[in-house]
Amino acid sequence: MKPCLLEIKNLSKFFSGLTAIDSLNLKVQKGQIYGIIGPNGAGKTTLFNCITGIYVPEEGEILWNGVDIKGVPPHKIAELGILRTFQTIRLFSEMSVAENIMSGRHIKSKQKWYNGIIPTPGYYKDERYNWEKVGEYMDLFDLSQYAATPAGDLSYGVQRKIEMARALAAEPELLILDEPAAGLNENETKDLADIIRKIQAMGVTVMMIEHDMDMIMSLCEYMTVINFGAWICDGVAADVQDNPAVIEAYIGIEDEDE
């Protein structure tokens, strides 16, 4: 059996009596692009917040390489190699693009506790090395021309790229993308799909929430559908698309919206 990178076991999260996640199970294999789909309010973002330590789930286990990471604070989760982007873009908008991506290098920086006030040769080397790395990630995402521009001044599509570059700069094992295509036009979405494939080719496992069905069906090797926090079904794209429970829960509700 292939090693399982992330396993969610019977996970439940309640908000004052309301069940946001209802004993959910899923397994993400190393190297996959894994999709989480479901109607609005299904608990997808809550699931991501539980994995990244922002929420502490009441029941169940979150196994990272076999070790339970439930209740581990967010900054330690990042150190373990799980990095994320946000549904509502959360950049340091007054700071330049390069400085934003540099935040991804934080956990990789080897500066000692006294280097905040006393520079040492090792500190200069470390600064230089990490800024060079930032340069590499800016090149990868085609952001170099905006290096000194405040992130908040750029278009939505570019900001999405900065957020992904920032997370990737931390050299994660698992990259969690919360609706990366939201607010993007057709061309930008196509670019995004290419970027996600490129990320996968770098050996990074990707887990994503997305509403763009074309994108998720073509990108994701495996997916789980949830509704009201509970598992509906999982499988490869073709299985999920044909599942009557999915059509009822997901597509059905979308029809009501229209």
Partner: protein
């Protein structure tokens, strides 16, 4: 070298020559300005960088001053020997007192730190342990003696404070271009995003408080030696409000801004001393107008200070 750095260097050179043409009264004002600007910078590490609404900074300034005063007058330590404790005691006290309240946000932290400052003043005024001299404070603090020389003239005081400011600016520059300073900015701008990037919010906020308290303590020690006396009212909440205001009026996290803020809030009132209390009316108005017209300060911080090799090909 950027334009801002050139201006800053020019200002520093001019400040270095002030003792050659100022009389001793103005030199005393200049020395206090240098000391206050160090305190303002140390407040700016906590407020402007880490974004913690800390309204009790005068307590750390006072701890440094009282550490030097008590060790010198009660225990007979030479001033030079009191420098290390004047830095370390405020640091340790900051770590102990701030760590239970560090998770508080914005206004909640503000109220808690005012409380700390009030407790500090109460301790001083009630002469706890019989070493603080009560409401009158402590008099007769020695001058710095080294190499068989007494550094007691106003010019000596000025240059000692000037060197302290130089060290402070060096520390600020180092901090701003290290992962520690950046982590503080990230936490300030978006703490959820910062945590998700692996930044331990608690650690870096306490780091800011420790460095800030240590620098304020060094300034306090200098202050005690300059006036050869310390008393509680120099370190009360009103003083904390002044340091807080200096940072906001000058420009949070902006080195020239904070220096300018100290001039506006401290030196100008001295210049207009002949107008007595009326001058404070003008300053009250100036503070209100600055916040309306320039909410980010007179000289706001500019981000994007990145290595030049990354700027190739930028638009």
């Amino acid at each position: 070298m950027t334009k801002t750095n050139m201006i800053a260097l020019g200002v520093l050179v001019v400040m270095g020559f002030i003792p050659f043409f100022a009389d001793s009264a103005w030199l005393a004002v200049g020395t206090t300005f240098l000391v206050y600007s160090v305190v303002a910078f140390s407040q700016d590490i906590i407020l402007g960088r880490a974004g913690a609404f800390h309204m009790g900074h005068a307590a750390f300034f006072g701890l440094g001053a009282y550490a030097t005063a008590i060790l010198n007058t009660q225990y007979g330590w030479p001033i030079l020997a009191t420098w290390a404790p004047a830095v370390i005691i405020p640091m340790v006290v900051a770590l102990i007192t701030i760590s239970p309240i560090i998770h508080l946000r914005g206004d909640y932290l503000l109220v808690a730190t005012i409380g700390l400052n009030i407790i500090f003043i109460q301790v001083l005024e009630n002469d706890l342990f019989g070493i603080t001299g009560g409401p009158n404070g402590i008099f007769g603090i020695d001058v710095v003696r080294a190499f068989g020389y007494e550094f007691m003239s106003q010019t000596n005081m000025y240059y000692m404070a000037f060197i302290l400011l130089g060290i402070t600016l060096f520390i600020m520059k180092t901090l701003d271009s290290s992962k520690f300073g950046r982590a503080m900015f990230y936490i300030n701008k978006d703490d959820i995003a910062a945590q998700s990037m692996g930044i331990n919010v608690r650690y870096y906020k306490l780091y800011a408080f420790a460095i800030g308290a240590g620098l304020a303590g060094a300034a306090g020690s200098m202050f005690a030696v300059q006036y050869s006396a310390v008393s509680p009212e120099a370190f009360n909440v009103l003083q904390s409000i002044m340091f807080f205001t200096i940072v906001l009026v000058g420009g949070s996290a902006s080195l020239p801004g904070v220096l300018l803020g100290t001039i506006v809030m401290f030196v100008l009132p001295e210049v207009f001393r002949e107008f007595a209390e009326a001058r404070y009316l003008v300053f009250g108005l100036a503070m209100i107008l600055t916040m309306i017209l320039r909410p980010r300060g007179i000289w706001p911080v500019k981000f994007g200070d990145i290595p030049s090799f990354l700027k190739k090909g930028t638009k």
